[in-house]
């Protein structure tokens, strides 16, 4: 059954090579992307997000007692809350399953036994998952945008496009946090549990905590603003609202304070917050994964 391999090996002796840093990352990214796209979870998330996005587009006029497809600007505002619920959940769980899943299946050891570094494995997985999530979001936003363009024309498409951009940033930040959770967890179930709790904390608990803290500790408005933008979801929300040329006054005194004191620097500050939420957890994940004593 097994052919005469010895003859071949002695005849074609060459110095085995390890892949370059970028090459290794790219190979893992491609594999991760392909696996993610083929997974049922991604199909389900993409389908659900698309249906909800089109549904929100249709229902955007309900607030003024009407129905039918609203323009891009109003739809972007309507989609804001949907994005804040669905996208963090999608990215956190995808990230949480990445390393812990490989570890639990026993495949991580085999990958690490190849001529690659831990950094290459982790960055490759992050990049591949990021590409898959962006594809999923593009499908949802694309179909919703296509329907809107067909029914209402192209007015306000800029705000909608910026919403897509900010959503990608939010997804990357949440993915990094998910990957960090995954690196720290031995089991997929534990990683998923922590990811769900983190999602709950970002979406609901932090708002409630901020409200309670502001009352209990009589926080000043600038302190409340500082605490608010620590939450990437709040940064995302404010960035989208500012981008729609709306006044942050809709967010109350804190929003009014931010508009007055930061002015044109505010959007950059919010985007920087989202970028920091992408880079710092990912950097920490790489550090912890590289220094881990076991597989």
């Amino acid at each position: 059954m097994i052919a005469n391999s010895a003859a071949h090996f002695s005849a074609t002796r060459q110095t085995p090579a390890a892949p370059t840093l970028i090459g290794g990352v790219a190979r893992f990214a491609r594999r991760e992307f392909r696996d993610a796209i083929a997974s049922k979870w991604f199909a389900l998330y993409t389908f659900a997000f698309t249906v909800l996005a089109v549904g929100v587009s249709y229902l955007s006029l309900s607030g003024i007692g009407s129905h039918g497809f609203a323009g891009f600007g109003r739809t972007a505002a309507g989609l804001l809350n949907l994005v804040m619920l669905v996208v963090p959940l999608m990215a956190l769980t995808a990230g949480a399953g990445s390393v812990a899943g490989e570890r639990e299946r026993g495949t991580l050891l085999y990958l690490l036994a190849q001529p690659v570094s831990r950094t290459q494995v982790l960055l490759g997985k992050h990049l591949g998952l990021a590409a898959a999530i962006i594809c999923s979001l593009c499908v949802g936003f694309g179909i919703s945008g296509g329907v809107l363009a067909w029914r209402t024309g192209g007015v306000g498409v800029g705000a909608y496009t910026m919403l897509v951009g900010f959503t990608v940033l939010l997804a990357l930040a949440m993915l990094s946090i998910g990957v960090l959770i995954s690196v720290c967890s031995r089991r997929t179930a534990v990683a998923m549990g922590i990811a769900l709790f983190t999602w709950l904390a970002f979406v609901f608990i932090s708002d409630l905590g901020l409200m309670a803290s502001s009352i209990l500790f009589k926080l000043r408005v600038q302190e409340i603003f500082g605490l608010a933008i620590i939450n990437p979801l709040q940064s995302f929300k404010m960035a989208v609202i500012v981008n729609m040329n709306a006044s942050l006054d809709v967010l109350g005194p804190v929003g009014a304070y931010a508009s007055r004191t930061l002015g044109g620097a505010l959007p950059w500050m919010l985007v920087s917050s989202l970028i920091a939420w992408t880079a710092l957890p990912l950097g920490l994940a790489v550090l912890l994964f590289s220094r881990r004593g076991s597989v």
């Binding site: 059954m1 390890a18 299946r105 085999y110 190849q114 690659v116 570094s117």
Partner: protein
């Protein structure tokens, strides 16, 4: 090819590998022999540089701790059982590993052909038998023609035919000048493949010997398990080693490899030291191949 000095690995309170040192020349072959939990797998993982450890290890002159990626490029690793995504197809799996090692698709196909897996590329990994998975792992390990092959109990999940194929391939690789380091529970494999045997127990190398010294017989060997009281297992192991038997503790008794017609010898040796054997179980009937003698 391998230079290991003072390799020590601890998992919390458990000392998995303790101060292991050895050298392995290019073209030579060394077997790790010991019970489950003796530290064989952990030692292999240290040598691969996939876990952090104290001490020094180099492969082909490349420091495993500092330049693990480059050291692993010199190693083909075969695990106990191939762990790869179950949904992946065999063809795409080997191409993935080929790209990691900067090997062409054509060479990947050759590698599959060499282990008799050509024509199975469309099969998913989950649909492969244990033997096919192991052959795939061997194909991956040999993709870049590495000078060193490290195998962690490569035949433990295979039937007799599968074992024979793997051992035959490894014998060919030895003849081609490859360096082998492998863990095994089977005396026949060790006798037919290894120049030296490191006997491991509780993370330590307790004996650095040769297969002939461990099993000084041309007759078939059987592995028997002796059940003793826990308190005297370590003493019993020492007694049996002094009597020239290959022994290892595996947490459920004491395993001893003996010639088939001398199974009572270990019991007699223990009786002379007033160590009582409660029960005996014959585990393996190992036919040592003629080619290995």
């Amino acid at each position: 090819m391998i230079h290991a000095k003072g390799i020590t690995k601890r998992f919390g309170r458990v000392q998995a590998v303790s101060d292991v040192s050895f050298e392995l020349d290019a073209g030579a072959s060394i077997a790790l022999w010991g019970s489950n939990g003796a530290g064989k797998t952990t030692l292999i993982r240290c040598l691969l540089g996939v876990i952090r450890f104290k001490g020094n290890a180099s492969v082909g002159g490349v420091d495993v701790r500092r330049r693990g990626r480059h050291a692993r490029a010199l190693v083909g690793y075969v695990p106990q059982e191939l762990a790869f995504h179950d949904d992946a197809r065999l063809g795409s799996a080997i191409v993935f590993f080929a790209r990691l090692r900067r090997i062409s698709r054509a060479r990947a196909a050759e590698s599959l052909a060499e282990v008799g897996l050509i024509g199975h590329e469309r099969k998913r990994v989950r649909d492969l038998s244990g033997g096919m998975k192991q052959r795939l792992a061997l194909a991956v390990a040999l993709l870049s023609d590495p000078p060193l092959i490290i195998l962690d109990e490569p035949t433990s999940n295979l039937d007799a035919a599968g074992r024979g194929e793997v051992v035959e391939t490894l014998q060919r690789l030895r003849r081609a000048g490859k360096t082998l380091l492998f863990a095994s529970h089977r005396p026949d494999e060790i006798i037919s493949l290894a120049d030296r045997v490191l006997v491991m127990e509780r993370g330590r190398v307790v004996q650095d010997t040769t297969p002939v010294e461990l099993w000084p017989t041309e007759k078939p060997v059987q592995v028997i398990r002796l059940y003793l009281t826990m308190a005297c297992e370590a003493d019993a192991a020492d007694v049996l080693r002094e009597a020239g038997h290959a022994v290892h503790l595996n947490g459920r008794g004491l395993c001893v490899a003996v010639p088939r017609d001398r199974k009572a010898e270990p019991i007699a040796a223990l009786a002379r030291k007033q160590i009582e054997v409660r029960d005996i179980e014959v585990l393996d009937d190992v036919q040592i191949q003629e080619s290995s003698q």
